[in-house]
Structures are given as structure tokens and as C-alpha cells.
Amino acid sequence: MWRDWIPFWRPGLSPQSGDVDLLFAGLLIASALVLGLLFFLLILFCVRYRAGNEIDRGHRTSKSWHWEVSWTAASFVCFLGLFVWGASVYFEMYKTPTDELVVFVVAKQWMWKTQHAGGQSEIDALHLPVKRPVRLVMASQDVIHSFFIPALRLKHDVVPGRYQDIEIEIDRPGHYHLFCAEYCGTEHSGMIGEIVAMDPADYSHWLTQQAPASPLADEGGALFRQLGCSGCHGNGSQVRAPPLEGLYGKPVPLSDGSTVIADDKYIRDSILLPRSQIVASYQPLMPSFEGKVTEDQLLRLVVYIKSLAGRPS
């Protein structure tokens, strides 16, 4: 494979990372050509036109514009090509994730906490099955971090105050680096972990081996009662609050006339900033839970509300 020809560059491990490698090779070749031409000319001129050398210096090019126009145009066309190439691969990498298999990632100074839908959680490690697209839902507890897997040529910042999701897929089983790539304080360089890609069978086996924590949705349900959400949103409550069954993924009409889809971000915002989007025909009664729930708990609440999606309201 051509990728192996670049000595220091280990081949990427997913369809997109192959594309990035190809792009890198393209960029290298383009620059090698430009640099080759430039250095050739520089050396040629330096040797031929050195002061002591008797050589014809007459007939200098005085009109320059056709040269200018041609190299401007040539560079521009090259640049345009590179731009389009880079952008198309970018769109492929950051396309909207499918929802097949979801893993939650919480970043905090200075560790990665990952949680599988079944409730298994890990620290500074992430086990994944190979050849399956996995959606990572990431949140940060404190400052900006960045989730970086060099082998996949993939990276995304994790910014506090919002969810970020990306899709990853690994082709080959193995152990790969996970780095924090955004400077986040003292132990930034210690915020590293390991991605373990496994065959699906091994992965299922691994899942069952993990401490049988109660699944996230159940924990979320417990929190839902504990934090008093059910007092308003439960059946037969005194407060008129919208029922949350069947909510996830549906369009929600808001009091300002607009409509939003009830996705993770919307639910998160509803809990933290309930007044920013008021459901049509309801009063803005819900208190903010900002500062009262951690990112971990938020994740569980979101998962719980998601799990209500199938139920009739």
C-alpha cells in the first residue's frame, strides 16, 4: 500500500482516516513539486548569476504582468483544488452520526470517563467493537478538552456547556492512543488513555465481564425521582408540566412560535436552562438545575428520558 511508503506515517484505521492519509500524501506531493521547482530555480540563479560569473545579463524581462498573472492563476487553481478536497473529506468525518451504538464520554481535569449504554463505565479507556459505527456523545465538566485518536486521524474539542457528538469506526482490533489535545491545565499531558478495539464477540464478552452496574437509564430513572422531576412530570402531579414519554426525537412547539426537535441538546438545555425554550401552552415554572446536577447525572437523565421515547404518553 502506498501509505506504507511514508516511513513515519502509520496507516490510519478507518475509511475516513484512509482519506485523510491520501489527502496528506497529495499535499506532500504538491509541496514537494513546488519546493522542488523553487529550490531548483534558486540554486540555478545563485550559481549562474553569481557576481563573478561572466554571463549574458542583457534582455532582462521588464514587463512582468503576464508572469504575475500566470503564477497567480496557477497557485489559485491549486489552492482551490486542495480546498475542495480537504472540505469534502471533512464533511465525511464530521457527518451526523448514526444512532446505532452510543457511548458517552465525560471529560474532566484530567481524565476521560466513558460510559456504555449498558452502564459499564471506564476511566481513561474505551472498549469498542470493530467495524461498527459508534456514536460518541461528549461533554466536559470543567474546561475545554479535546478527544484525539491519532490512529483514526480524528479529533474534536469537548467544550463545557454543550454536547458534542462524533462518529467513530475502527477497522482493525488493537490498542490505540487516546490523547487530550486541548491544553487543560497541569496534567494535560497525563490526560491520555487507551482505545481498545475488539472483535464483536470479544466485545460482547468484555461487556458482560464488567461490573454489572445498573444500566444508565435505570440510574437516570432513580435520579428523576430523587431530584424531584417526577413531582412535576409524573402522572397525577399538581403542577402542569409536559409529559416526557414519547418526547425524544419528536418536534416540540415552543411558546415563541418556533419548533425544535427534542434531541440530547434540547433535553440538556431544558434541564439546565429551562427558560430559554418554553414549551407552547406551558408556564415557565421549571427551576434550573444548573449547578445541581453533574455532567454524569445529566447524561443519565438524558438517557432515561430517551428511554421513555417508545412509551405512549
Binding site: 415563541d256 436552562l273 427558560r275 430559554s276 415557565p284 434550573s288 444548573e290
Partner: protein
């Protein structure tokens, strides 16, 4: 006008010097526009994100003081422009009084602003020191007030600098005003008008939104 050798040797004439000074002042104003520009971007970003909260926050401000202050500032700008226009040895007295008047209006502006800050403090609307708003949209309102306080504080600092400039000029050009004083006054006036323009926009951004709703 009496004219000692007033222009430095890098210039060839008085107009040469004056035009250079004016050009310099305009470059400086361009700089100032971008200084406030950063704040304005922040404002629009959050107004886009929290439209209702910004409308609500605006209603917590005192539009009466805001409007009076705008009028005060416009008037003082007018006085300064007037002073620049009639500047000459013969009118030195009037010019002095015009400048003192403008500076006093500036001080009145600051005083009113202080009253407004005090009021907001008592209403617990100062983020970082005392912000309590149990009501809806608290977060967006808080962002609004962060913007409001920083923007008006920076504006007030500009005002204070301007007031000092005006008073200094009032004192030094009281007698024997020269073309140098005129140039200095002209530059100070440009600055003062610019501060006025900034306020015109701050007024529209801070006091006016959300009035119609209630």
C-alpha cells in the same frame, strides 16, 4: 493670532501639521471603533441566543436616566462643536465657558450613571457581586448585565478622559490661544464626538429592546 515657532521640524507648514494631527485622530478613532466592536459582537451573539432574556434584561434598566443621559451627551457634543467653530483670540472667553459647560454636562452624565448603577445594585442586578434573579431567564439576563456593566463602564472611562481633556483645554486656551491650541481642541473634539456616537449605539442596544412587549 500670535504665532511662535510652533510646528516641529518634520513639518513644512502649520496646515501640514494640522492635517497630520487630524489624520492621526481618525486612525485613533478607527482603533476605538474596534475596541467597542468586540463588545458589540458579544452582545449580538448572546442576543441571538437569548432573545427573550435580553428583552427582559433591558426592561430592568432605567430608560428615563438613559434618555436624559443621551440628551445630555448630545448637548455637550454640540457645545464642543460650537467651541471649535468659533475658536479665535477674540472669543477665548466664550470658548472657555463652552468647554467648561460641556465638561459639566459630561460630569452630570457620570453622576446620573452612578445613580443608575446604585439602583441596579439595590435590585441585585450586578453579576459577580450580587446577582439574584429568581425569575425566569436568569442566565440570559445575567449575560445581558455583564455586557451592560462592562460596556457602560468602559464608556464612562472614555468620558472621564474626555472631561479631563476638555477642562485642560479650557484652562490653557483661556488666554493667547494659538493655532496649536486650535489643533488640540479639534482633536479633543473629535474624540468627544466619538464617545457620543458610541453612546448613541449603546443606548439603542441597552435601553430600547423589549419595551414594546410589556
Amino acid at each position: 493670532m500670535p504665532e511662535p515657532p510652533v510646528f516641529a521640524s518634520q513639518y513644512v507648514s502649520i496646515p501640514h501639521r494640522d492635517h497630520s494631527a487630524e489624520l492621526g485622530m481618525w486612525v485613533f478613532i478607527a482603533t476605538e471603533i474596534l475596541l467597542f466592536g468586540g463588545l458589540i459582537l458579544a452582545y449580538f451573539v448572546y442576543r441571538h441566543a437569548f432573545p427573550q432574556a435580553f428583552a427582559e434584561g433591558s426592561q430592568h434598566t432605567d430608560i428615563l436616566i438613559g434618555t436624559i443621559n443621551t440628551a445630555v451627551l448630545l448637548t455637550s457634543s454640540f457645545l464642543v462643536a460650537w467651541a471649535v467653530e468659533i475658536f479665535s483670540a477674540a472669543t477665548a472667553k466664550i470658548v472657555t465657558w463652552l468647554l467648561v459647560g460641556a465638561a459639566c454636562l459630561g460630569l452630570a452624565f457620570i453622576a446620573l450613571k452612578g445613580i443608575e448603577y446604585r439602583k441596579e445594585y439595590h435590585e441585585h442586578l450586578i453579576p459577580g457581586i450580587d446577582f439574584q434573579l429568581a425569575r425566569p431567564l436568569a442566565n440570559g439576563v445575567q449575560l445581558f448585565f455583564v455586557f451592560y456593566l462592562i460596556a457602560t463602564a468602559i464608556h464612562a472611562v472614555h468620558m472621564l478622559i474626555g472631561i479631563c481633556l476638555l477642562l485642560t483645554l479650557a484652562i490653557i486656551s483661556r488666554r493667547a490661544p494659538t493655532t496649536r491650541h486650535h489643533t488640540a481642541l479639534h482633536s479633543a473634539a473629535l474624540y468627544w464626538h466619538f464617545v457620543d456616537v458610541v453612546w448613541i449605539f449603546l443606548f439603542a442596544l441597552i435601553y430600547l429592546p423589549g419595551r414594546a412587549a410589556s
